[in-house]
């Protein structure tokens, strides 16, 4: 569904001269539109190019320096040597995971901001991070689970449960899940869960010790089979998200107008909510609650593309993937020994860029 403004309406009652002027204006506008679309498509392709570069760097660069030729050979013919194992067993899964987690976080943020029409919406505000944290804390506190692989599903279930609770609470009554209701419900639910988590921290410092590392957000030590279990959820979420652009464009017009134009508001909201749960739940389960990416990348995307969701969504996915894979690679080499978690690096390199952009451009509003 396209929603271009009907530019000729104003001229319908005019005389012939006006009609000609209107036609010329419409023609100019159409070519301008085509040019903008071409520009946006080009920009997206360029961003994809940068992403490919980041992926290659992420495979090639690490604590152990491996000659680029060996890297190349490992990708095409695995010979079970130590160097090849590092590439294939460690860096490749980590890179692909980063790719999926990044794209998921970017898309989830864009969807949330579109759904709640709140520029501050992020997994934190809709209670999803708090739900994941609470579930992980429960897993450690009550069941004594200590490895990331053991509490992955708790994180996923917690994120999903919190999102469902928030959506259920926000959609009670006649008007359904309006933007501010969702945000308020999310904040309230997040506060309660966070309070419980803090309470456990104070009573049991073993749990705190475990969770403080998970909470930073990292791609380290996630092995291949966990990754393979989570990727289908992320892929499904990404697919649903990318299809939602036109419907979200309609909702952006305001509920009454969207309904008058025949948009299915509740269906769109439900589909968006499902996609958000899949994306955020999966990403948080895989990498821990990574702040900042979902919140700010969509702002950058909108600054580039304007408010059209059909462009905002793919741009958000690609830009967020670049940020995450790039940050993860940088985090491996920036410290003389040890590495910096990806959640820390995304904030440290992403925030200055974001602030510069906020200062330079007038951000596209929701």
């Amino acid at each position: 569904m396209t929603l271009e403004r009907p530019s000729t309406v104003a001229f319908e009652d005019g005389d012939a001269d006006d009609a000609t002027v209107a036609e010329a204006a419409l023609k100019r506008r159409t070519t301008a539109h085509a040019r903008v679309h071409l520009l946006r498509a080009g920009g997206l392709l360029a961003a994809l190019g940068v992403l490919v570069l980041c992926v290659l760097l992420s495979i090639a660069v690490g604590a152990k320096s491996i000659p680029i030729g060996t890297v190349w050979n490992a990708l095409w013919g695995f010979d079970a040597s130590y160097d090849h194992s590092v590439i294939i067993d460690l860096r490749l899964p980590r890179t692909v995971l980063g790719l999926f987690v990044g794209a998921s976080l970017g898309l989830a943020g864009a969807l949330m901001q579109a759904l709640t029409r709140n520029p501050l919406a992020d997994p934190g505000i809709l209670g999803i991070n708090a739900g994941a944290s609470a579930a992980v804390v429960t897993a450690i506190f009550a069941f004594g689970l200590t490895s990331v692989n053991a509490y992955v599903w708790f994180a996923f279930a917690g994120a999903g449960a919190a999102a469902v609770l928030v959506y259920f609470l926000g959609s009670r009554g006649r008007t359904g899940a309006t933007p501010v209701r969702l945000a308020l419900a999310g904040t309230a639910v997040a506060a309660v869960l966070q309070g419980l988590v803090y309470g456990v921290f104070v009573v049991d410092d073993f749990v705190f010790d475990q969770v403080r590392f998970w909470q930073v957000g990292s791609l380290v030590g996630r092995d291949l089979d966990i990754f393979l279990k989570i990727v289908p959820f992320l892929a499904a979420g990404i697919a649903v998200a990318l299809l939602l652009g036109p419907a979200l464009n309609a909702i952006a017009l305001g509920e009454d107008l969207a309904a008058a134009l025949g948009a299915h508001i509740n269906r769109t909201r439900t589909a968006t909510a499902v996609a958000i749960v899949l994306l955020c739940g999966g990403a948080t389960a895989a990498a821990g609650p990574i702040a900042f990416v979902g919140l700010t990348v969509p702002h950058v995307a909108r600054a580039v593309t304007g408010p059209d969701q059909r462009w905002v969504l793919p741009y958000s996915a690609v830009l967020a993937a670049i940020l995450l894979v790039g940050a993860d690679t940088l985090g491996r080499v920036v410290l003389p020994n040890g590495e910096l978690e990806v959640g820390i690096v995304t904030a440290l390199i992403g925030a200055p860029v974001f602030i510069a952009l906020v200062r330079r451009k007038r951000m596209a509003q929701l």
Partner: protein, 361 residues
């Protein structure tokens, strides 16, 4: 920006009874009194006094009400006087003052950002204060006083930095929020880094500070926060009418003769200072600044931000939360921030649920 207080959430469509206008001194001073608002504020005040008094009585050492009253006057048994005057009274006063400060400041921030989620952290104040304190605890190994200093310096520095970065031919609310988010993300990353690299005991101390706690507050701290609140709260309350006009849109307010830019700056400075005073004493106690204005507005069915109601509600929430934090797992003393989140959040959930289920909103 569409994240404004939405029409659908406003309550003026159903005022229970028409407001009466009260005039004093001829027509020079007049204000409108709503019966419901007066009743709600009166009950809140009574409830606060009741909880305050209860918090002087209960504890591992119980004191009966008559003995509390005696001890307040300095008479009664020495142990009673010690517990009431030396331990429980300063703590309860800290709770009331910090709560009132956070509630009023939260209302100002929500009004300025026209966003119910706009709490002091939108200008980076909370994040900066927390990072300053964590740095002081983990890197410099500072005690309570040094930590407070670290918090205030961190908070003010961050707020100034955010303001300057957002400054470009005036400060636009939207840009301020986004810059605040960016700076906050960096501060949070720094904090997380410090927490993962510190040893467990120190990380725990920093964590407790970040949750917000009133354990072991004494008269020195009460005086500090009392002076701050006594100076700043009246300024904030006086800004109320202008802020309410500005909620209708800056252009409208400007046309009505409100100096919008100046009001914005003064409101930001006083609300930040109020938050700073509160945070220095209690740590960044969560959720009071966010929940108190929302709860007060909904209970009083007010048609906009009510600064006085928010302050009252903040005070009430913090005393009752602190009482619960002391007793619920006694003798383990929970940091009050745990309870403000659970009580405030739970209450907000219940209120939203009730309001939305009946379809009134």
């Amino acid at each position: 920006m569409t994240a404004t207080l939405p029409e659908s959430e406003r309550q003026e469509a159903r005022p229970s009874r028409p407001a009466r206008t009260v005039r004093l001194g001829g027509d020079r001073m007049s204000f409108r009194v709503r019966p419901r608002m007066a009743a709600v504020y009166g009950s809140l005040l009574l409830a606060t006094v009741a909880v305050f008094t209860t918090s002087l009585m209960v504890g591992d050492y119980r004191i009966s009400l008559p003995d509390v009253l005696l001890a307040l006057g300095g008479r009664g048994e020495r142990l009673d006087v010690f517990f009431v005057q030396g331990v429980r009274l300063p703590r309860a006063w800290t709770a009331v003052l910090v709560g009132a400060g956070l509630g009023a400041a939260g209302a100002v921030f929500q009004s300025l950002s026209r966003n119910p989620l706009g709490s002091p952290d939108i200008i980076g104040f909370t994040g900066g204060a927390a990072t300053g304190a964590v740095l002081t605890i983990l890197v410099l190994g500072g005690g309570m006083l040094a930590t407070s200093f670290g918090a205030v310096i961190g908070g003010v520095a961050t707020a100034v930095l955010v303001y300057l970065l957002a400054l470009k031919k005036g400060v636009q609310g939207y840009r301020l929020i986004l810059v605040g988010i960016g700076i906050n993300a960096m501060l949070m990353a720094a904090r997380d880094y410090l927490l993962t690299r510190a040893d467990l005991t120190e990380a725990m101390a920093a964590q407790v500070w970040m949750i917000g706690s009133l354990n072991g507050r004494d008269w020195g701290q009460v005086i500090a926060v009392a002076v701050g609140v006594a100076v700043l709260l009246p300024v904030v309350l006086a800004l109320g009418p202008r802020l309410r006009l500005m909620e209708m849109g800056e252009d409208t307010a400007h046309a009505l003769g409100v100096p919008t830019q100046a009001t914005q700056v003064i409101a930001l400075i006083t609300a930040s200072a109020l938050t700073g005073v509160a945070i220095a004493v209690a740590g960044p106690v969560g959720f009071i600044a966010l929940a108190a204005p929302q709860l007060a507005r909904r209970l009083a069915r007010a048609d906009g931000t009510t600064l006085f109601g928010a302050a009252l509600m903040g005070a009430f929430l913090l005393v009752i939360a602190d009482l619960a934090a002391q007793r619920i797992l006694a003798p383990t003393q929970l940091p009050v921030g745990v309870l403000t989140a659970i009580i405030g959040g739970g209450y907000l959930i219940w209120l939203l649920h009730r309001e939305w289920r009946t379809g009134r909103a």
